[in-house]
Symmetry: C2
Subunit: 203 residues, 2 copies
């Protein structure tokens, strides 16, 4: 009588297969440049089949959104080894940048792309995103226990830090640094991050 169970497993397996193919394609080409037909071709099913497992392209977006955050959190795993909270915060910024330029398509889906962000706050995907943000707030709060960021609201400061990092990364990713000469352009991010570190340490 395990038929229903097996069917359910098959269903999840199919969902996984679709997601894996979609994932690979998206990482290679970006969300907008991958069509349902592309995914269908990759898994050797008809396009209509995709719609038996996902409501629409946006639902695939959500799934990959969660996947991206999962990888992001894994990427941040190294932080656990750093005791000093301020050093950990700085390393966090460095990893943030590294992740951005290593996996631009992830970053895009996580923070830049327009998409109906009205997704379920109890979903697995959402929790991965929340966890990432929580880690930032926690490390900032922890810094305050080490005499950093005196008289600053940790939530507000966390958002400000995130904004700064996101600002630098997204401007670079979206090619808005062409106002700078080729030579200084490549150093701009490094220099401003260095200055940012300085500012934070003096805060």
């Amino acid at each position: 009588m395990g038929v229903k169970e097996r069917k359910e497993r098959d269903r999840q397996e199919m969902r996984e297969t679709i997601l894996q193919s979609a994932h690979q394609l998206f990482v290679d080409k970006g969300f907008d440049d991958v069509s349902i037909r592309n995914i269908a071709e990759a898994i050797e099913y008809s396009p209509a089949t995709i719609y038996l497992y996902f409501k629409d392209k946006n639902e695939i977006f959500y799934a990959l959104h969660g996947e991206a955050f999962k990888r992001f959190n894994e990427f941040m795993g190294v932080l656990a080894t750093i005791k000093d909270p301020f050093k950990r915060l700085i390393k966090m910024g460095e990893l943030y940048m590294e992740f951005t330029f290593k996996f631009p398509q992830y970053y895009d889906i996580m923070f830049i792309m327009q998409a109906p962000m009205d997704c379920d706050k109890n979903s697995e995907e959402w929790k991965e995103g929340e966890s990432a943000h929580c880690q930032l707030e926690n490390v900032v709060k922890e810094c305050q226990g080490h005499n950093y960021f005196k008289n600053k609201d940790y939530k507000t400061l966390s958002f400000l830090i995130w904004s700064t990092m996101h600002g630098m990364c997204s401007l670079a990713l979206r090619d808005r640094l062409k106002i700078y000469e080729e030579a200084e352009r490549s150093k701009m991010i490094d220099k401003s991050f260095k200055m940012f570190k300085q500012i934070l340490s003096d805060l």
Copy 2:
């Protein structure tokens, strides 16, 4: 014998007509949600006609990109009345935010949208963009004459300031503040901008 001249004028006029219709549509619906056919319908010409005046949709993007920066610079016009450079810098930030949320489609095209940014650096459009950035660097430099930002490279700091503003604005615009409760969400931008002002003044 002014036939050629008139024809050239007609040509420019038609370009303007197309651009004006495109502009209105883009402001209302955003770049991606406006099709060549929409524009064609608005000006009561066939879609193919658009292509006699613009190479492709991207060329229209460039034109609007320039237009957006022009309006941005106009919007920043008030700054001229502010003598104190630091106050001017702060006002600049306030106006930046106001512009962002008043004209989200402009902001999108200026700083967020993916597009081949390999446009002509001598074009009118580009100069408008450069002028905006130049104004920021100038005001930061001027601040240094008033004992602000000691021992800081003004170019790097300018980029850092821009990044912070862009980070806050673009995260808000792209609905990435849903991690915060409804109540605090609306205040988040204000609070973090306030903190940012504080940090800058202590720099």
